[in-house]
């Protein structure tokens, strides 16, 4: 067992951080805010060229040939930098939708009754199966809409004035996601959806080689990668809070010297590190219950840390100018995406119980009170 990043993984992560520092610095972040999150296609292609979307495609299919643990590291960096765009959907569409792997195509996704991000700019839409435990057999647990079907879908969707200035949103046509593409086809004339998926899969053999490990794999991978973004955001807002608490002086001292403030910062780290362990472990095992734990804890870390960061920034934290609201709004949106707190908790509850396990002998007596540390 060696549950630490390998040297290659560290290099991958720092490479991604350097890249984002170069192509998406704060000026470009604020420029993206000013244009309401409209995507920068050249940045999208740069991400494609860097292997962000093709990371997990086999090398013979033009991909990088790495796995979920590496993908999680890249998405963590994206979350730190508040990188806009349907990153998760386009990454999952690599090998399934032409141009996604290269960053030539923008692919978004629709699931349940969640709003759809970047729909007007999308070249294709992935429609996730209705249920996380849905029947296996469909390609990756998602169907693809493009061409005529996509145009009809967009026409039926209503634009939303998005709370998150980095994520333009549409309300999905009623019933679209819950039923999956099949029902959408029947009611709205998107008959080509399933056929298109199969055709794309044939064009990109890589997609079919990645056989689903379990039903609803698409949704779980989307949840995990979203959790990784949340983790990056949680770590970033912790840094921002600590920075501000060290710089800002009141009563003649840095506010970070006051326990009321420093304890908020400590709690931020105590949210981030368990979430990090959960996200990384879920990336290694790919286990659905472990992914649910990762998503639940990373959501809480991202939202809780952004709120504490805002609080520590005082009045500045309530302004448009400070970046912290961008983290909080994005964290709220991600928390409502793919696997919500309620859904994760139910999955985790279903995973409890001793059924099928060996009973334990009861030789140990009750624990003495001071356990580790021994009292005294």
């Amino acid at each position: 067992m060696d549950f630490q990043l390998s040297d290659d993984q560290r290099a991958l992560r720092s490479g991604m951080r350097d890249l984002l520092g170069a192509v998406f610095d704060r000026d470009r972040l604020r420029a993206a805010v000013e244009r309401d999150g409209a995507l920068d296609r050249s940045l999208w292609r740069e991400l494609g060229a860097a292997g962000f979307f093709a990371l997990r495609l086999p090398e013979e299919a033009g991909g990088v040939g790495l796995g979920l643990p590496e993908a999680v590291l890249l998405f963590e960096e994206a979350g730190r930098a508040l990188l806009p765009g349907p990153l998760v959907a386009t990454h999952l569409a690599a090998g399934l939708v032409k141009g996604a792997a290269e960053g030539e195509a923008v692919v978004t996704a629709v699931a349940a009754d969640q709003p759809v991000a970047h729909l007007a700019e999308a070249d294709a839409v992935l429609v996730a199966d209705g249920q996380a435990s849905g029947l296996p057999g469909e390609t990756e647990g998602a169907e693809v809409l493009s061409g005529e079907a996509l145009r009809a879908f967009v026409a039926a969707a209503g634009p939303v004035r998005s709370m998150d200035p980095l994520t333009p949103l549409h309300r999905a046509p009623a019933g679209a996601a819950l039923a999956g593409a099949g029902r959408v086809s029947a009611s709205e004339g998107f008959r080509t959806a399933s056929e298109r998926t199969r055709a794309d899969a044939e064009r990109a053999p890589a997609a079919t080689e990645r056989a689903p490990a379990h039903a609803g794999r698409f949704r779980f991978e989307a949840a995990l990668l979203t959790a990784a973004e949340q983790l990056g955001s949680a770590a970033r807002t912790t840094e921002a809070a600590v920075q501000h608490a060290g710089d800002r002086e009141q009563f003649g001292s840095p506010i970070g010297s006051f326990q009321a403030v420093k304890h908020l910062c400590a709690d931020m780290l105590a949210r981030t590190e368990p979430a990090r362990a959960a996200v990384y472990a879920a990336a290694v095992t790919g286990d659905p219950v472990e992914i649910a734990a990762a998503k639940l804890l990373a959501d809480e870390a991202a939202v809780g840390n952004a709120r504490d960061c805002l609080q520590i920034h005082g009045g500045m934290g309530f302004t448009w100018e400070a970046d912290v609201h961008l983290h909080l709004k994005r964290a709220w949106l991600r928390a409502a995406s793919w696997l919500t707190g309620a859904g994760a908790e139910e999955l985790l509850a279903a995973g409890l119980g001793t059924a099928g396990r060996l009973p334990r002998s009861s030789a140990a007596y009750g624990r003495p009170v001071p356990e580790a540390g021994g009292g005294g």
Binding site: G353, A364, V369
Partner: protein
């Protein structure tokens, strides 16, 4: 990132499991929690069995009589013994996890030869005389005085929260040997024989009703100067060195136990029908996430110390801060599963709920842990 155990690690686990399966059925019945001599006998018997099987001092260095196991082997040992329901370290705690490692690191050859083998064999029990009524979180403010008189120190003062004091042979004692020096620089570390004249042990009853620890009154107790470990007035550093034996494994058994409790709570809730309450169900689900993450964080911390050669990170404070709060939440959920039975102290988990109230206090309060995390990890300035 690799969560798979190596062949050698799995072999170690397999041998340990076989041994546990062979010996645990032959253990005597567990004693009553308030029968201290019986508890001591039970705990030392178990330690002797570990010693005879080559598992004593697993994580101690070989030159101290230990097995020199890797942090991962230690993790496996703690995980498997807990899963098998083996006895807890109990009365051997201070000797194996604090005083022993301190002597191994800082003692003379003679001191190591005198004190370490009996700890490993389960022949001698140690207790810890650190905290005082006016020196808790601010431990270095301790006032128990030791005045040199010939070959002895004469020690007078009061210690508190001393676990196993009634049955201990030795006490690792922090005393003030230079009252004029800055508070961290006038402290010495002594091994005090608990049968010396002038020692009075008064058990303290906890809110759970049992006597888990004691007050120890010291009235001109003579301790030979040869029982001082490290230089005079260097006791603070000597004590802190032992923290380097903490390799991220401090809470392994407890996290394993908490996960088992969570499974049992789910079983019980399903049996009684309370499982149909989505609020309770989701509460247990969220605790599942918490303890799974704490288990993974433990594995990460152990792997880190394996890479750094056993040097501890301050990450233990992050872990303890989160864990102690979550463990209290576990027993709040247990009370909800129990319903009206939550007030019957003979029901499982009820005493645990009471005991859990100490977790955010013992071994550094959560407020002190937050200071450590904020100042030593995040680099925030010291202050109020």
């Amino acid at each position: 990132m690799d969560l798979a155990y190596t062949e050698a690690e799995e072999e170690f686990r397999g041998r340990l499991r076989e041994w546990l399966a062979a010996v645990l059925p032959g253990l005597p019945a567990k004693p009553s929690p308030d029968d201290w001599p019986a508890r001591r006998a039970y705990d030392t018997t178990w330690q002797r069995m570990l010693y005879d099987a080559g598992y004593a001092g697993l994580h101690w260095p070989v030159d101290a009589g230990g097995q020199g196991a890797t942090p991962t082997q230690h993790l496996i040992f703690l995980e498997e013994t807990e899963k098998a329901g083996a006895p807890y370290v109990g009365a051997n705690f201070v000797g194996l996890l604090h005083a022993g490692p301190t002597i191994a690191a800082e003692g003379t050859a003679g001191q190591r030869a005198r004190w370490l083998p009996p700890v490993l064999r389960g022949d001698e029990i140690w207790c810890q005389g650190f905290s005082e009524p006016d020196a808790g979180s601010d431990l270095a403010a301790l006032r128990t005085r030791a005045v040199r008189d010939g070959d002895d120190y004469v020690v007078t003062g009061q210690k508190i929260w001393t676990s196993h004091a009634e049955v201990a042979d030795w006490c690792e004692l922090l005393v003030r040997t230079d009252p004029d020096a800055p508070k961290h620089r006038g402290i010495s570390w002594l091994a005090m024989p608990m049968d010396a004249p002038g020692i009075t042990v008064r058990p303290l009853r906890t809110l759970a009703g049992s006597t888990e620890f004691a007050e120890v009154f010291l009235d001109e107790v003579r301790v030979p100067a040869s029982c001082r470990v490290g230089a005079e007035n260097d006791g603070w550093r000597v004590t802190m060195v032992t923290l380097s034996f903490e390799r991220g494994t401090a809470f392994v058994g407890e996290v394993v136990a908490c996960r088992r409790t969570l499974d049992a709570l789910a079983d019980e809730a399903r049996r009684t029908g309370r499982w149909d309450d989505p609020v309770l169900r989701r509460r247990l689900g969220r605790l599942n996430a918490e303890f799974r993450a704490l288990w993974r964080l433990t594995q990460a911390n152990v792997s880190e110390s394996e890479r750094t050669g056993g040097v501890p990170g301050v990450g233990g404070s992050v872990f303890k801060l989160r864990y102690s709060g979550v463990r209290q939440e576990l027993y709040e959920a247990a009370a909800e599963v129990l319903g009206a039975d939550a007030f019957d102290v003979d029901r499982e988990w009820v005493l645990d709920r009471l005991s859990s109230l100490s977790y955010t206090i013992a071994a550094g309060t959560s407020q002190i842990q937050r200071n450590i995390v904020a100042e030593r990890i995040l680099g925030l300035p010291k202050g109020r």
